[in-house]
């Protein structure tokens, strides 16, 4: 199949399914070979972790049509990012500049600028492509920050309980009550961030709070699990219980919310670039949108409509991909589907896309 691994771990999960779809589970995996000089126990532990939390959930996720479409779309964006990055580096797909082609060219006229040019002669396709690497970095940084802080606060509050819980929970309650977009805008105006990683973090500055609350309630159920209790009785340290027993079980849930947070980053960043609140250092679909809307006269005639459509499609595509991935991965989180998979994978195929089998429950 055509899908390659991408930046998020969900992607690498999908990839592994592709390579091992027909083969045995014990074939070697890419990231193991990279750490081959580490002692064997590490290797085995990695393999266990991989089997339990990446391979098996990945199999369920991959079986879902939504995950597959989402991953395919995301692959397009990652390729765009690679093309932009390599192109700027090797010079085969240059960054858009003014007067690089004839001005105001309609799409599908020449191969120099397949999607036409702007009023100042910039290649529209190049603009869209060169906006991708920064967007991917932003989305990844925002997603990692939001889910990371959420996991940290959620597990701490949920597992520790008592006054720690109360303190962390009230803190995230306050953070949750502050409206995200206006806060981000005020901070963006005061700090003028330019680094895409910083922007990603800024955009999710209070996004983690709601997520942290739901992770907390997950942890509250997990900590009552027999094996966690067993670890506690055996005197295993809290840190070890958290990292070995609790957090791995949150993985699918975290992955789903990573995709949701990433979508939020896309929407917010493009919106802020559109308004010109974030300082514009490089290309962005929001800037492109703004340019087409206010300057190119896309409003009055139909002539410049393509300049509006290209960034619109770019934004919708990446958002669609993230929603599909989140929806598909959501199925992994459903314990019913997971246990079924753990036995044999053929039964999963028959279940199609539905997360709850109503027919079983209904008279």
């Amino acid at each position: 199949m055509q899908v390659k691994p991408t930046d998020s771990s969900s992607e690498s999960a999908s990839e592994s399914i592709v390579t091992d779809g027909s083969g045995s589970k014990t074939s070697s995996f890419s990231f193991e070979t990279s750490s081959s000089n580490i002692e064997v126990t590490w290797n085995e532990r990695l393999r266990d972790f991989y089997e339990e939390f990446i391979y098996k959930p990945g199999l369920v996720a991959w079986d879902d049509r939504r995950t597959r479409i989402g991953a395919a779309i995301m692959f397009v964006y990652v390729s765009m990012g690679v093309i932009a990055w390599l192109g700027a580096w090797l010079g085969f797909y240059p960054e858009p500049t003014t007067n690089q082609a004839e001005r105001g060219l309609q799409p599908f006229q020449t191969l120099d600028a397949p999607l036409g040019t702007t009023q100042s002669g910039e290649d529209v396709l190049a603009m869209a492509i060169h906006a991708t690497p920064e967007m991917l970095i932003m989305v990844t940084a925002g997603g990692i920050f939001a889910t990371g802080v959420a996991v940290l606060t959620g597990t701490l509050a949920g597992y520790k309980g008592g006054s720690v819980d109360r303190a962390v929970t009230s803190f995230s309650d306050v953070a949750m009550s502050i409206p995200g977009l206006p806060l981000i805008m005020v901070l963006a105006v005061v700090f003028r961030p330019r680094n895409p990683i910083l922007i990603g973090i800024l955009l999710t500055i209070n996004y983690w709070a709601g997520l942290g609350r739901s992770i907390r309630s997950q942890v509250l159920t997990l900590r009552e699990e027999p094996y966690v209790e067993a670890s506690r009785t055996m005197g295993v340290s809290t840190r070890r219980i958290l990292t070995k027993d609790i957090i791995p079980n949150l993985m699918p849930f975290v992955l789903v919310n990573f995709a949701n947070a990433a979508r939020y980053v896309v929407f917010a960043s493009v919106g802020l670039y559109y308004l010109g609140i974030l300082p514009s250092s490089v290309e962005n679909w929001g800037l492109q949108l703004e340019n087409a809307y206010t300057q190119a006269g896309a409003l009055v005639g139909t002539g410049a409509l393509y300049q509006l459509l290209v960034p619109m499609v770019s934004i919708m595509g990446i958002a669609l991909s993230l929603i599909l991935l989140a929806q598909g991965l959501d199925r992994v989180f459903n314990p019913r589907v997971r246990t079924r998979l753990a036995g044999e994978s053929e039964s999963v195929r028959s279940e199609e896309t539905e997360e709850s089998s109503k027919t079983e429950m209904m008279p």
Binding site: P182, M312, S356, E360
Partner: protein, 334 residues
């Protein structure tokens, strides 16, 4: 039980206090923060330094020459009396600007949110009842597709198509010139006419994911034991769908509904810019562009307080609707 309400009230007040303190901290303590930049701007305009302090006081309710705790006290007391300072770019006070703009934004956002809720409940329930059918598959795909469109992208598309190409609807502004606000039919129709596109762009992009959430809730309730028992007891389909399924499926969405109003208030900054709709979002953007910190901070505070109040009301009334919440303290432990 009353304990829960008391605690919840304390938390709401505490949150508002924290947010006020945070804005004060941003204004006063951040290096390169608003007060510093405001002062720099005034110096650039050639105003003598002795007058600047007096001006800063009217603009931001902060007397820079006083000790910090007095500044803080001044700031809080003036906020509590409704004095949000004076706008830098507009000749009016911040309170006057907000009083003029807020009703329009609230009108759009409340209408949009109610429509989103109604559509989501009906559509989601229909999907759940017909789970697995072509209708369900088609609707689910459509709602995912709608959710992948940011509201401002749809807003731009709507302005281009209906405003400029077809010239059916206004491309901006909250009312036609010459129409006076009042309870006349012309005014109401005119206001609705201008609000139509903003509301549509919020509803179309917002309803999809909510409908999917409702679908999920309904499917879960449909599979619950009490619904099965109700069927075995021979209750009518109508009674089961309204009293058993609908009620239990809508409840989880209720808090989300009020939170959505507050959330959308924040989104109004982008939306109102696209439509040149002079609500608080529009003024907030003006303030951001002009570095009009008093107005910026004032609107930020108002939006935050609105959000806190919305969630507060949601939490309090949730207990009235769902009797189980009255044991709020006990369930909090879980």
């Amino acid at each position: 039980m009353s304990n829960y309400y008391v605690q919840r009230t304390i938390r709401a007040v505490l949150t508002i206090w924290v947010v006020i303190t945070v804005t004060f901290g941003m204004i006063r303590l951040l290096p390169g923060g608003p007060l510093v930049q405001l002062r720099a701007k005034l110096i650039r305009q050639g105003i003598s330094s002795s007058r600047i302090n007096a001006m800063l006081e009217t603009y931001q309710n902060v007397r820079p020459d006083q000790p910090i705790y007095i500044q803080y006290y001044d700031y809080i007391t003036s906020l509590l009396t409704g004095d949000l300072g004076k706008s830098f770019s507009d000749s009016r006070t911040v309170t006057a600007i907000i009083a003029d703009a807020l009703p329009w934004t609230v009108f759009i956002m409340v209408t949009a949110t109610i429509l989103i809720f109604v559509i989501a409940v009906v559509w989601g329930a229909l999907m759940a009842y017909n789970e697995g059918s072509t209708f369900d598959l088609f609707s689910s795909s459509a709602s995912i597709l709608f959710a992948s469109v940011p509201f401002y992208v749809l807003a731009i598309a709507l302005v281009v198509v209906f405003g400029y190409q077809l010239e059916l609807l206004p491309t901006g502004y909250r009312k036609s010139p010459g129409v006076e606000p009042g309870l006349s039919l012309t005014f109401v129709m005119d206001a609705l006419y201008h609000a139509l596109l903003p509301i549509v762009s919020m509803v179309v992009t917002g309803a999809g994911l909510q409908a999917l959430a409702m679908r999920g809730n309904s499917i879960q309730v449909l599979g619950a034991d009490f619904v099965r028992v109700a069927r075995l007891r021979g209750l009518s389909d109508r009674r089961i769908s309204v009293r058993y399924v609908a009620r239990n499926a809508i409840l989880p969405m209720y808090t989300g509904f009020l939170t959505l109003i507050g959330f959308n208030l924040g989104g109004s900054i982008i939306l109102e810019q696209v439509f040149h709709y002079t609500g608080i979002g529009f003024y907030m953007f003006q303030a951001l562009e002009n570095r009009d910190y008093p107005l910026m901070m004032g609107i930020f505070l108002v939006i935050t307080v609105a959000l806190v109040l919305a969630v507060y009301i949601a939490d309090l009334t949730y207990g009235l609707i769902d009797p189980r919440v009255k044991s709020g303290d006990a369930s909090e432990a879980y």
